[in-house]
């Protein structure tokens, strides 16, 4: 009797977990299929023209802008984030008040909605510093937004590097600098990279913060001080105007492929970097 009841519970639980998994996958599959079906028929070569015109809403300028903003933001945020992580893990003493403060700040920053970053960027970079709606304003704003993410992931990655590596390096007479750059950082690289990829995902998907700071000009920006729109902003603009819904779906397809491509690339890089040493032998 008791056994039967147990069996029943077990079965119910199995069904529940299967159901949850199926629902999750199903939703995702439906979403992707929906976008692909609505978008692919409208992926015409004309969408990849260099010029955006009001007749032909080309997405290529937005694609280029996405790459530019991503690169610029990473250029600012990655060194800053990784160096602060190095400070927190390798240099700051344990129980240091500053460390706790930096960590608290980072955690708070990562919880702020992106529109708030946008507002800040608009007030500070666009208005006060007079950078105007520009790639630079957008990239700097986004770099502030992703900084906590990069810092925390780099910190976790560095903390996961076994202290025995550090001892080994010091034991051979290496200084701290050499230990950090030749031993700890390379060992932490896959983890740091994972954070960077997440950050790229946030940049590529961001709209709110960019509308306020980089503006919505649909051409390739002639200089970093010019306004331009990324793919996500482009999509938002198209669909909110309501005139080019088909092209909007086509843009969504490109965005989807871009993100999938980035993820695949990151997996590949992490594997190549990690493959050198990640696999633990003899343990």
């Amino acid at each position: 009797m008791k056994k039967q009841k147990q069996k029943l519970t077990e079965k119910a639980f199995a069904v529940l977990t299967w159901g949850a998994a199926a629902l999750t996958l199903g939703t995702l599959a439906f979403l992707i299929a929906f976008i692909l079906i609505r978008g692919i028929p409208h992926l015409k070569p004309s969408l990849f023209a260099w010029e955006y015109t009001s007749e032909n809403v080309s997405l290529l300028p937005a694609f280029v802008t996405t790459a530019e903003i991503t690169l610029l933001s990473l250029l600012i945020a990655v060194p800053l984030g990784v160096f602060s992580a190095i400070f927190l893990t390798e240099y700051a003493k344990r129980g240091n008040k500053a460390v706790a403060l930096v960590r608290l700040t980072a955690e708070t920053l990562s919880g702020i909605p992106s529109i708030v970053y946008g507002l800040f960027g608009w007030l500070f970079f666009v208005t006060s510093l007079k950078w105007g709606f520009s790639l630079l304003s957008g990239a700097v704003t986004l770099s502030i937004m992703i900084l906590p993410l990069i810092m925390r992931s780099a910190e976790e990655a560095l903390k996961a590097v076994p202290d025995t590596y550090r001892e080994g390096a010091f034991g051979l007479g290496a200084g701290k600098l050499r230990m950090v750059f030749r031993v700890a950082l390379p060992a932490a690289m896959p983890g740091i990279l994972a954070g960077v990829i997440l950050a790229v995902g946030r940049i590529v998907g961001e709209t709110a913060a960019l509308i306020y700071t980089a503006g919505t000009v649909a051409q390739i920006a002639p200089s970093p001080m010019a306004s331009a729109r990324t793919l996500s902003v482009h999509m938002y603009a198209l669909s909110s105007e309501g005139l080019f819904m088909n092209e909007s779906y086509a843009t969504a397809v490109v965005l989807l492929l871009l993100v999938a491509g980035i993820n695949a690339l990151s997996g590949f890089i992490a594997k190549r970097l990690g493959g050198k040493g990640e696999r633990q032998g003899g343990e």
């Binding site: 080994g168 010091f170 034991g171 051979l172 290496a174």
Partner: protein, 252 residues
């Protein structure tokens, strides 16, 4: 080098915060010999080992008084710590090769100290691996990750890595405690060969190991050196009652 004292330790006290881990240690370690530190867990033997190349500098709240001299030079008096660690190499309890290739592991030390030429690095790598009796096992996989080696091979690799910077002394902190008996045997054999060229200090939990490889043994208890003598003498005629109790297995 033989019979000359390599380390001279005088009235050394060591504190971790308020806890005194070593109490007025006085001893001389002879060059060209293998000295074993034995004693129960927490007796201070590893701590003393780490004061010899200042690895204790890395421990927060660690305070040291007294002097340690390496061939007459005060280790704690303005000696460049990186230079000290080059002269006094260390092998750790758990094999800790870096997550890089076998070659890069060995070349790490020489590169740290400014060797850049490929040919010079090649010959150091080969010599160190030969001296650590692992060359034949890894010569065809120098570019392969060191972490893919077995535990025993990893530890011999770490010994080779320590030898590559040309140390005068090797400190070994229970180097075989994480290894199987066969790997342990190989390392003990290796130690006896290395004694020809290097002075070795080894911390061990294993009294048989101390009798097999060491020339002199120091017995530690609660932060003090209870007895320090030739290994044969200590294990056949211990002077102190506590030493006798420990080596006959009455505690520890």
């Amino acid at each position: 080098m033989k019979d000359k004292s390599i380390f001279e330790i005088k009235s050394l006290d060591l504190f971790y915060g308020n806890f005194q881990a070593l109490k007025s240690i006085n001893m001389e370690l002879a060059g060209g010999e293998i000295t074993a530190f034995i004693g129960p867990s927490g007796c201070g033997k590893s701590t003393l080992l780490k004061t010899l190349n200042r690895m204790n500098d890395l421990v927060e709240g660690c305070r040291i008084t007294g002097t340690v001299r390496l061939m007459g030079q005060d280790v704690y008096g303005g000696m460049d710590v990186n230079l000290l660690r080059r002269r006094v190499g260390m092998v750790f309890q758990k094999p800790n090769p870096f997550p890089m290739s076998v070659y890069d592991n060995i070349a790490f030390g020489p590169r740290t100290h400014g060797v850049k030429k490929k040919s010079a690095l090649d010959s150091v790598v080969e010599k160190s691996l030969r001296d650590a009796a692992i060359w034949d096992e890894v010569k065809d996989r120098l570019k392969k990750p060191a972490l893919a080696l077995s535990g025993g091979q990893q530890q011999r690799l770490c010994i080779a890595r320590a030898l590559a910077v040309g140390p005068e002394v090797l400190l070994m902190d229970e180097p075989t405690s994480a290894l199987d008996p066969i790997s342990t045997g190989k390392i003990e054999e290796l130690l006896l060969q290395l004694r020809e060229e290097y002075s070795i200090v080894i911390v061990t939990h294993n009294m048989q190991q101390a009798t097999r490889v060491s020339d002199r043994t120091a017995f530690f208890l609660l932060g003090e050196v209870v007895e320090y003598a030739k290994t044969e003498t200590m294990f056949s005629m211990p002077k102190d009652k506590r030493t006798e109790d420990y080596i006959t297995g009455r505690f520890g």
